[in-house]
C-alpha cells in the first residue's frame, strides 16, 4: 500500500533582499511519519518553517495540505487547517500558568465570544470546562501535569519545551512542526524528548522536525530532507541520506577521502 501524502510543498521560493533563502524547495510529507529537515546553519530550515506556518510571506510556490491548497496568508489560518508548531527559541506566555498556556491553544477549536463570557451562558460554561479538561489531559500526556499551575517562565527548560508541544497539540494538529526541540538539552532530556515524539507518531500524528542533532534525526526520523543554501539537496530514508555525497560535502565543506 502506498502511504498517503499529508503535505506537499511545491517550488517554495523566498528571498530576503539579495539573499535567496529558499530556492524551489519541494518536499512531500507522508501521513504518520516523522520527517526530518536538516542542514547546516543558515540553510533555510527555519525560513521554510516560517513560510509553512504563515509567519513569513513567501514569494512563489504553493503548499498542498490534505490535497487542498493551504492558505499561508496568516498563522491562525494555518493553525486552523491543522499545522501546529513550536519555536527554536521557546516562545511561551511567560506570565500565564502552564495550564493557561495550553488552554490558549484551544482557542482555534472553540467559539465562545465576549458576550458568552460576560453572560456566562450555559454553552460557554460547557466549552470552558471542556477546554480546561483537554488542557489538563495534554499536560498529563507530555508529562508535566504536576506543574499545571506554575507560571510558564518558572518552569525548567525541558518542561518549557514540553509545554510548548502541549500547547501546539491543543490546536488538534494533523502535522506537528518542531523547530529544534532538542536544542540545549542534555542526553537524558534528549532521550526523553525522543520518546515523546515517537509516542506522538504512534498515536497517529505526523511530525516535521528540524534538528541539529544529527544522531537524533537519523535515529528518530522515517525520512529526511537536507537543505543547503536554500536548496534541497537530498530527500530519502536516513541511511541513504547519510551516504549521499552532496550531503557530506555540505556538512564537511569539501569532498571526503579526496
Amino acid at each position: 500500500m502506498k502511504p498517503s501524502v499529508l503535505l506537499e510543498a511545491r517550488s517554495i521560493c523566498k528571498r530576503f533582499g539579495g539573499v535567496q533563502a529558499l530556492k524551489d524547495v519541494s518536499l512531500t510529507i507522508r501521513r504518520g511519519e516523522i520527517y526530518g529537515l536538516i542542514g547546516p546553519n543558515g540553510a533555510g530550515k527555519t525560513t521554510f518553517f516560517n513560510v509553512l506556518t504563515g509567519l513569513y510571506r513567501h514569494d512563489s510556490g504553493d503548499v498542498l495540505f490534505e490535497d487542498q491548497a493551504l492558505d499561508l496568508s496568516s498563522p491562525h489560518r494555518v493553525a486552523a487547517a491543522g499545522i501546529a508548531r513550536t519555536f527554536q527559541n521557546i516562545r511561551l506566555f511567560g506570565n500565564m500558568t502552564a495550564l493557561e498556556n495550553v488552554m490558549v491553544g484551544r482557542h482555534v477549536r472553540t467559539r465562545a465570544g465576549v458576550f458568552g463570557a460576560i453572560l456566562k451562558t450555559p454553552s460557554q460554561r460547557v466549552e470552558e470546562t471542556a477546554i480546561k479538561r483537554r488542557a489538563e489531559e495534554l499536560l498529563h500526556y507530555v508529562g508535566i501535569a504536576p506543574r499545571a499551575h506554575t507560571l510558564a517562565r518558572h518552569l525548567p527548560y525541558g518542561d518549557q519545551r514540553r509545554l510548548e508541544i502541549a500547547r501546539a497539540l491543543a490546536t488538534e494538529p494533523k502535522l506537528l512542526a518542531l523547530d529544534e526541540p532538542a536544542a540545549g538539552m542534555n542526553a537524558t532530556e534528549t532521550a526523553a524528548l525522543r520518546q515523546l515524539v515517537e509516542g506522538l507518531r504512534d498515536d497517529g500524528l505526523t511530525v516535521l522536525l528540524i534538528e541539529h542533532d544529527v544522531k537524533l534525526v537519523m535515529g528518530l526520523c522515517d525520512r529526511v530532507a537536507v537543505l543547503d543554501y536554500g536548496e534541497k539537496i537530498a530527500e530519502d530514508v536516513p541511511d541513504v541520506v547519510q551516504k549521499d555525497a552532496k550531503v557530506i560535502e555540505a556538512y564537511l565543506g569539501g569532498s571526503v577521502g579526496a
Binding site: 506566555f93 511567560g94 506570565n95 500565564m96 482557542h107 465562545a112 465576549v114 470552558e128 477546554i131 500547547r167
Partner: protein
C-alpha cells in the same frame, strides 16, 4: 463561597450603599468627589482591558471619554434643542466610542509598545482638537467655550437635579448619581472578572505575552486586538456620558493628555491586569489629592502661619513620588495580577506537603 466571605461582601455592600448618606452630612462636595472617584475606577477598568489584559499601551484613552461626553452633551442640551432620555444616549455614546476604538485600532494593529503609545497619544490629541475647532462653519461642539446647561439624568420620576426624600432620608442629586455609578461600576467589574478567565481574555493575555506565539497558537490577533480596543473604548464612552450628565458642562479642556496619563497611572500603580489592583490604584489616585486639598492648607497655616506650597503643586509632587516608588519597589503594581498569586498558593501547598 464561604460564609465568612459572604458576610464580608454584605458588609462592604452596606457600607457602599450608606456612604453617600454619610458623606452628605459632611458636605455634598464629598459625594461629588466620591462620584468622580467611581467614574475614574470605571475608566481605569475599561482601560485595563486594553492595557492590562491585551498589553496595548494606549495613551489616548481620554478620547473615548470625550466621545461619550460630547454624545451626551449634544443629545441632551439646548445646544441643538435635543433632549433624549439617558437610555438612548448612553448606548449611543458607547457605540460611537466603540466605533472610535475600532477606527483607532484598525490602522495601529501592526504597532506595539512605544510606537503604539505615540499613535494613540496623537489620536487623543486629535479628538480634543476636533472638539475645540468644530464650531465653524457649522457649530457642532461650540468650540473651546464648551456646551452648557446639559440635561441631568432623569430616571422615571427621579430627577437627578432635585433632592428627593425617601423613607425620611434625603437623597441629593449627587447621591442619586452615586447609586447609578455604583451600579455601572458593578457591571464593569463583572465584565472584567469574567473576561479575565475566558477564551477571549486568555487570547488577550497571550497577545500581551508574545504576539508571534499567540498567532502561531491559532489566535486571529487582528480581530482579538480590535475587540480589546472596541471594548475598552465602549466603557470610556459610558463614563464620558455620565461625566457630562453630572457636570452639566463639557469643554475640550476636560479631555487633555494629562487625563489619559492619570487613568493609565491608576492602572499601572494598582497592578495591570488585576481588577482589584486597578480599583485600589484608581481610588488611591482620586482620593489622596482631594484629601490633600483639604488638609495641606490648614496644616501649613498651623505650622508656618502662611501658605508656602499650593496643594495643586504638592499633588503632582506626591503623584510623581508615588509612581517612582511603585516602579522601584513593586514594578508589577501594588496588587499584581492574580495569576502570580495562584502560583504562590500552589508553592505554599507544595511546601506544606513536603
Amino acid at each position: 463561597m464561604s460564609a465568612k466571605k459572604t458576610t464580608g461582601l454584605v458588609l462592604v455592600a452596606i457600607a457602599l450603599l450608606a456612604l453617600p448618606l454619610i458623606l452628605t452630612q459632611v458636605g455634598t462636595a464629598w459625594v461629588r468627589i466620591a462620584n468622580l472617584a467611581i467614574l475614574f475606577v470605571f475608566l481605569s477598568l475599561g482601560l485595563n482591558i486594553v492595557v492590562g489584559m491585551a498589553g496595548l499601551l494606549d495613551l489616548g484613552y481620554v478620547a473615548f471619554y470625550a466621545v461619550g461626553a460630547y454624545t451626551w452633551a449634544l443629545l441632551a442640551s439646548p445646544h441643538f434643542s435635543i433632549h433624549l432620555p439617558f437610555w438612548v444616549i448612553l448606548p449611543t455614546g458607547a457605540l460611537l466610542a466603540c466605533l472610535a476604538g475600532a477606527v483607532l485600532g484598525a490602522p495601529t494593529l501592526r504597532l506595539r509598545g512605544d510606537y503604539l503609545a505615540i499613535v494613540t497619544l496623537g489620536f487623543g490629541e486629535i479628538v480634543r482638537i476636533f472638539m475645540n475647532n468644530l464650531s465653524a462653519p457649522f457649530n457642532i461642539t461650540n468650540g473651546p467655550k464648551g456646551i452648557t446647561r446639559i440635561d441631568g439624568m432623569q430616571l422615571g420620576p427621579l430627577n437627578f437635579v432635585r433632592t428627593d426624600t425617601l423613607f425620611g432620608l434625603d437623597f441629593t442629586g449627587p447621591a442619586k448619581y452615586y447609586y447609578v455609578l455604583l451600579l455601572l461600576l458593578l457591571g464593569v467589574i463583572v465584565v472584567n472578572l469574567r473576561l479575565q478567565d475566558s477564551r477571549i481574555g486568555r487570547a488577550w493575555v497571550a497577545i500581551r505575552e508574545d504576539e508571534v506565539a499567540a498567532k502561531a497558537a491559532g489566535i486571529n490577533t487582528r480581530n482579538v486586538k480590535l475587540l480589546a480596543f472596541a471594548m475598552g473604548a465602549s466603557f470610556g464612552g459610558i463614563a464620558g456620558g455620565m461625566f457630562a450628565a453630572m457636570q452639566g458642562f463639557v469643554s475640550p479642556e476636560s479631555f487633555i493628555l494629562q487625563e489619559s496619563i492619570m487613568i493609565l497611572s491608576m492602572v499601572v500603580l494598582g497592578g495591570m491586569g488585576n481588577v482589584w489592583g486597578v480599583i485600589a490604584g484608581a481610588l488611591l489616585l482620586s482620593f489622596v489629592p482631594e484629601l490633600l486639598r483639604y488638609t495641606v492648607e490648614p496644616a501649613q497655616q498651623a505650622v508656618f502661619g502662611r501658605l508656602l506650597v499650593e496643594p495643586e503643586v504638592l499633588r503632582m509632587l506626591i503623584f510623581g513620588i508615588a509612581l517612582v516608588l511603585t516602579m522601584r519597589f513593586r514594578p508589577a503594581g501594588l496588587w499584581p495580577e492574580t495569576r502570580h498569586r495562584r502560583e504562590m498558593n500552589e508553592r505554599k501547598d507544595r511546601t506544606a506537603r513536603a
